[in-house]
Symmetry: C2
Subunit: 449 residues, 2 copies
């Protein structure tokens, strides 16, 4: 403590205030657009979940002027409450994006705040995307500085680091000066959200939503001159020291503007834990092979990474939620229905007699030579033929990112039950076009029912 | 972790739900009333501070139906926002109550939430006071379990433990069952507020306000069935383990209902750091002595505990805030004006020529034999006489609690500049009568301008 720590907060604040949109490479902007598309799909898809309905019922009596959209629903609420609700719905299926290095889900805190803010004050598409890039940069760099110690202690890093992303992004749109941006980061630092103990309850998806709301509140207060520490990250009793047992603050300040964390963002193709994605990927590919016939499947033999049976070894799942923890269901439903979206992990799908029938012919064996994103699937047909595929890297992994077409497929699967096919397609087109929109509020409106 | 921790959260929740108002001794209820009186005075007194005005300007555009009072002001806002604002104003002078064992300021988080809630849903005075007792019990017992490790790490315990107090108190008024009370505590655990790094900025007083708002939000969500962990305190990744390096959870569960933390609450007589209270106390007593004449004071010689000069050794303060860090100003202004309230630590008082003139005749010497709540003051008069007093225990310390008359004097000093004398006296009477009020909202209304 006798040596002065480097001025991490001020350096980050200066970057957030002064970064030029023109400096952001086109590929980075495209990844930001993909992040937006994926997030809107998740938020619309999750919007009917009981967590959203319950939070809306509890808090709408306190809502201010109903200017902001709750995606996928008819209600409008004030922008701070919208940030909370859209953050909940976008995370409630565990289907949102992942910054693989820190397991932060970057979009939830940042985009829930940004989109709600864009219904408070007009925001152009290019400014919106730049603010998204900067918000993700802030939260993921701060995450990099404390991962894994901070996560290991028990913080749900999406909420605890995410609040900085929301403050940075909204602060940028509010055109804060360097001192006020530092205050916004200070007000964010003092309101971290999220203990991992909450996993398995509705409170998990509360975390990105509350982080969005807290970060937006921080930026709004700082914009008016509400003072805070200007060393909130690095001070002896600042966020890095209080919320982690170790950190490397150079992760926050080195190379700002020369690399972009959002360019490493990844998207889940399937609505379940990432460990069973390689199996689903293989089944979907085998299903398209010449000679595949569902009724002719005699046995499905999986060879999988050890974690698969440890985490998803449930042989007789009885609900949609349990289905997410059954590689046997995942393989069977992928072969039956040709997909692995939220619908394939519903109660309906898990209890479907033909899925159950096929599930009982699926067996799995651990293969310790396999990487975590690999799997080997062999299908034996009634006539004795075998269809076989070895997946080296599952779709959605860093080696095989989801294509834009994959993202579209996911978006439509999430949106159609909520908005219908035609409106979902129009919304999708609007999301791809986000950079060129004059007023972002139009997209939020298009996502309402 | 192989051994199951005791069910701390469930035990606390069961107590909060089932505790009988009749079981609370009259002396405890009286201390709760004194806590209320002191808190209302502080909130009214602080209501014109820039922190309150700034937060109101930033967040009122998002306010829901204007049903709740901002004490000391004309504005009404929604109850969740009122909880935040009243929490800020009640702490912004650092003049509120203190639970001496943990340095928690108990009223801010609990009463800011309770009073705002009472403008959302009618609450009777006896229920209000019982909820206050229970809220303080929850936050201070949780504080006891982690103090001092949690505070030493850098958490502002008023915000980080206070959120439980607000959730418990509002949860009680919402008549939550045991499971939902546990969820409310879980939703509180996942939203702690407050790093000590923020001390010295407006964000410090944000902490009790945001804790009130978060705790009230937690209770409202739980009441509607928003699920959370039911082991939020004791789980391996629960609040006690994540936010502290050591804890004793028996502090939370043992003797519930047989002792009351609120009965140890203390109140500040003077609007400055507690270390200079013994000096002010002595000066106020000497000023009343026969033969004291302000114009005749030649020298004021203080003997003080070492911390006094370390923390408040400023000899030439130039603003009200700097005056709080000058024992020389404190002694001079107490002798000049016969008080040590917020007015005596204003810019006006610090720059007053006669106070400055007297301040320059005040000298101080460290005496390592003195206790922290003791001081020795000798006044030399022009005719050579000495007036001398040794204060063993300052007023407001646990040995010499403030009397009801002292609390009244403080209340009037805080309220009169805001509400005028007559309205302040009526409000004071209403506060003393709080237990017998049919609808608490009447008191909130009486505290508006």
């Amino acid at each position: 403590m006798s040596q002065q720590p480097p001025p991490v907060t001020a350096t980050l604040a200066a970057y957030l205030v002064n970064a030029s949109p023109e400096a952001v490479p086109a590929a980075v902007r495209l990844e930001a657009v993909r992040t937006f598309v994926n997030w809107v799909g998740c938020a619309v898809g999750g919007s009917r979940h009981a967590a959203v309905t319950t939070a809306l019922a509890a808090l709408s009596p306190f809502s201010g002027p109903a200017r902001a959209s709750v995606l996928g629903r008819s209600e409008r609420v004030d922008p701070l409450l919208a940030a909370l609700l859209n953050g909940i719905s976008s995370h409630v299926f565990d289907f949102d994006d992942t910054h693989l290095r820190t397991v932060i889900h970057p979009a939830g805190p940042v985009l829930s705040a940004l989109l709600a803010f864009a219904e408070h004050q007009a925001v152009r598409g290019d400014d919106f995307i730049h603010a998204l890039v900067l918000g993700v940069e802030a939260e993921c760099r701060i995450g990099n500085a404390v991962f894994p110690a901070h996560y290991d202690i028990g913080w749900h890093i999406t909420g605890s680091a995410g609040v900085f992303g929301a403050a940075a992004a909204v602060g940028r749109l509010l055109e804060l000066d360097e001192q006020r941006m530092a205050w916004a980061l200070g007000l964010a630092a003092t309101q971290p959200v999220g203990l991992r103990e909450m996993f398995g309850s509705m409170t998990k998806s509360f975390h990105p939503g509350r982080a969005a709301q807290n970060g937006m509140t921080a930026a709004l207060l700082a914009a008016r001159g509400y003072t805070s520490s200007e060393q909130a990250l690095e001070a002896p009793r600042g966020w890095l020291n209080v919320l982690s047992t170790s950190h490397d603050s150079t992760e926050i300040t080195e190379g700002l503007g020369s690399s972009y964390e959002i360019s490493t963002n990844s998207y889940k193709p399937f609505a379940c834990g990432i460990v069973i994605h390689p199996v689903i990927d293989a089944c979907l590919q085998l299903r398209k092979r010449d000679g595949f016939e569902l009724d002719a499947v005699r046995a499905v033999r999986l060879r999988v990474h050890p974690l698969v049976l440890e985490l998803t070894g449930k042989t007789e799942p009885r609900s949609g939620l349990e289905g997410k923890f059954s590689v046997f269901h995942a393989a069977a439903v992928a072969l039956c229905e040709g997909d692995g979206g939220e619908r394939q992990f519903s109660d309906r799908a898990v209890l479907d007699p033909s899925v159950v029938e096929l599930r009982r012919r699926v067996s799995a064996q651990v293969d310790t030579t396999l990487e975590a994103d690999a799997a080997d699937v062999d299908i034996e047909l009634a006539d004795g033929r075998h269809l076989h595929l070895h997946v080296e890297h599952a779709i959605g992994s860093s080696h095989r990112p989801m294509s834009n077409a994959d993202l579209e497929h996911k978006f439509l699967g999430l949106g159609e039950d909520v908005l219908g096919e035609a409106r979902t397609r129009r919304l999708l087109d609007a999301c791809w076009n986000v950079e060129h929109v004059e007023d972002i509020a139009a997209i939020a409106t298009a996502a309402r029912t």
